[in-house]
Symmetry: C2
Subunit: 339 residues, 2 copies
Amino acid sequence: MTRSFAKPASIADVAAAAGVSVPTVSRVLTGAAKVSAVRRQRVLDAIEELGYRPNGAARALVSGKQTTIAVMTSDTTIYGYSSTIQGIELAARAAGYFVIISLIDSDAPDDIDRAVSLVLSQPLAGVVVLKFDPAGVQVVGALPRDVPVVAVSGEIDGEFSQAVLDEVAGGHEITRFLLGLGHRTVHHVTVPPSRDEDGRTIGWRAALESAGAPVPPIIAATWEAVSGVGIGHHLADRDDVTAVFCGNDEIAMGVISGLAEAGRRVPDDISVVGFDDHPLSRIWRPGLTTVSQDFVDLGRRAFSLLLQQITGDEQPVLSSQNPTLVVRASAAPPRGPTA
Amino acid sequence: MTRSFAKPASIADVAAAAGVSVPTVSRVLTGAAKVSAVRRQRVLDAIEELGYRPNGAARALVSGKQTTIAVMTSDTTIYGYSSTIQGIELAARAAGYFVIISLIDSDAPDDIDRAVSLVLSQPLAGVVVLKFDPAGVQVVGALPRDVPVVAVSGEIDGEFSQAVLDEVAGGHEITRFLLGLGHRTVHHVTVPPSRDEDGRTIGWRAALESAGAPVPPIIAATWEAVSGVGIGHHLADRDDVTAVFCGNDEIAMGVISGLAEAGRRVPDDISVVGFDDHPLSRIWRPGLTTVSQDFVDLGRRAFSLLLQQITGDEQPVLSSQNPTLVVRASAAPPRGPTA
DNA sequence: GTGAAAGCGCTAACAC
DNA sequence: GTGTTAGCGCTTTCAC
């Protein structure tokens, strides 16, 4: 079969075929004004017959309204990222907007500039930046002030509208939970932070301090779950570690695996908890105690903030939501008295 | 701080500020023709000063060229989906195209129609459909023939260009691997198929048949990893099951968890393998034996097929790639002789 | 090299 | 209700 991508029919073709004027076709298309039933039908028939579809570029040009927003992110595959994107798309589509995905290669200045100018070269109603990592932070800083922008997650700065999950509260709560189980302190493994310290780390530290517990040095992992495995091996050698709070669930799984390979059992020998409530946390053995974050809702809220800006509101708004503690089996009281 | 989203500067504003004509500005922008160094610099300065950015809608209108493609998918969070999307974006961006994500709510005719007409209302150079599931299949069927389309995965039909991973080969290979370990037969748990039978299922059946092994009834799971847990419980009661090939890694993890909860050990009591080589398969305990698929590359190939169509090639092309077996610890020979 | 003029496909403003 | 006239921001002839 031969496929042909011929020049598409224009509104003028439709008008000609229907024997009406161009604006009349436009009227039946947009419903902006009444058209007699006869002509309306003729137009509809012509559209059908010609397989006519309005040219969006022309529409956007004349109306001055853009119906596309961009999501700038450094990744589309990480659980939190992809779920947030899904939430943004859902909300955007419901409001009649399309969403473009624009990947940021790294947080190197060159890559940031390239990503930003690429996005701006497109006619956009606004942009949502996933500020989960340093690349996102850089992009927010590089975006011009005359474009509607909302940042998702990250440090709260008040300059842009921002949709966040209250990570500080989440980190605080899960750390307090561990302390409540009887642990003397809680060690902390981080994913690459989007700033000096992620909210979850700040919450962890605050919980420790307000309980008068020692604050051990932070252990840094990468975004790769495997990086947790090495950390698990390392932790297995340390008698002083009884509870570990990991920056996300994948890392926690890696740590548990590493611990297991080194012969230490979770939660019997050591408690390990995560963050995010990844879908696999539930079926992981032992079930992972974690903090549940509603990323899809986060994406929805981000879009609604953006829409506010697009439609005129000029002041930055903050939308925050509290995550909830999910208790499963990976955390337990420490073995014996300090032993 | 007050943000203002004033009317953006147009090329005419730049021309006025630089004291040149509009086409001259266009020339320095596009590099279509030489401009004297003096004027060029004046234009550049004016652009800088006014913060001018070309209006993409106007450009698209006049050039008749679209630089946006759509990816239609029923999900953005599943590992294979999100990785493929990332590959598409990477390739598209390198070629100067933007990618719109358009979610399909379900495979119900209404949702399909809505999704298709929504996408077509946008000025697009082409569309990539993720045909991993029934919704994708329906969408491909509903798309008009005058738009460049490429399908990713799914049954090979020859009507559209298609990028696939050879799932039949993958399913065949991993089943043969299990048989080679000494299992009498291999049971199969499927994720919702995009057609009567997914390629991996076809490969499984073929391997069984050509080995003269019995073909047990198929067990159906959902896309949710948890659905595997219940199946695991169920399987634990059956003495005749010694090897299970799951439609994807998440389901395999669920099955292993269910088996473990019921007191059966993997791979000692029963072997379980997956498909996809999910990032967590490696750190799962036991390490999951699976079939590795390069989804990012799949996305890249899909885009390059689309580009071929956009730039004129009319005949459908098939791009296939062989997945590779990844042997880890979750499969072993069956216990004793039939025992 | 550079400007004037035309026109991409569409909607808005205006007469009738 | 309907057609005529403009004009959105840009690139592309086409003269000079």
